[in-house]
Symmetry: C2
Subunit: 156 residues, 2 copies
Amino acid sequence: MFSQTSEYALRVIVYLAGSKGRPVTNRHISAGTLVPQGYLAKVLQTLSRSGMVKSQRGLHGGTVLAKDPEILTLYDVVQCVDPIRRIESCPLAMLAHGKHLCPLHSRLDEAISGIETILRNSTIADLMESRSKHQPTTLCEPPAPATKRTGRSNAR
Amino acid sequence: MFSQTSEYALRVIVYLAGSKGRPVTNRHISAGTLVPQGYLAKVLQTLSRSGMVKSQRGLHGGTVLAKDPEILTLYDVVQCVDPIRRIESCPLAMLAHGKHLCPLHSRLDEAISGIETILRNSTIADLMESRSKHQPTTLCEPPAPATKRTGRSNAR
């Protein structure tokens, strides 16, 4: 029902929300969301263009969520990468129907509207709060950052 | 939200329901539903394989709906050609989640479940009954059958 691109974008946004402002590298995002790196770059580009995430190059660079998870909804994310389209006029372009959909398309549009409502009413923060015993993480635990070797503690 | 194939299959089924048992040729179905003939042949093949329609070759041949429109639902049609898939286990295959979806995938599955319910609760007969002043036909009027020339009345 949801495109691969929407699914991936949602994973990425939820993952970034979990990193709480700490910039995350593409390699880590890919490992944590299982979004292939090539695909990830394209998804991040679209999300970045719409101002949903911010990326910074360099040594301590990476990507952060640029929107408030309390306001950002699943709908916003999906509409950013692969918009849900309501049926607004007869797909058969029946002039006799004008703006009034035939019963088939009214029913299909009602179904799409239902999805839209659920996604509009779900903020990223809602997901972060709804963890339970069975769902210990929002998406999956961010991989532990690699331990830095200072060259002292491990020196023999 | 719905694939082209689902949309086309639904149009075809609704159109055939409107012909009330009279076999309709592919040419007429294509003209009435605006489904291209090549695509139509494939859709009809799938619908026929599942016993939803019956086709007969020959002079008075054509396709008829083989199921009771009072029982046949939009869900049945969609599941026949391009099934809606619920999210039953974590798409990231997180072993820690087991059969328990993470909040993101729970919410997406809830949305898909909503669509499923609306389609399950809509029979083809419902659509036929819900015509109004603005929606004079279920889908669109079947084109009037070509007048037969007997060779007598028009003879000069």
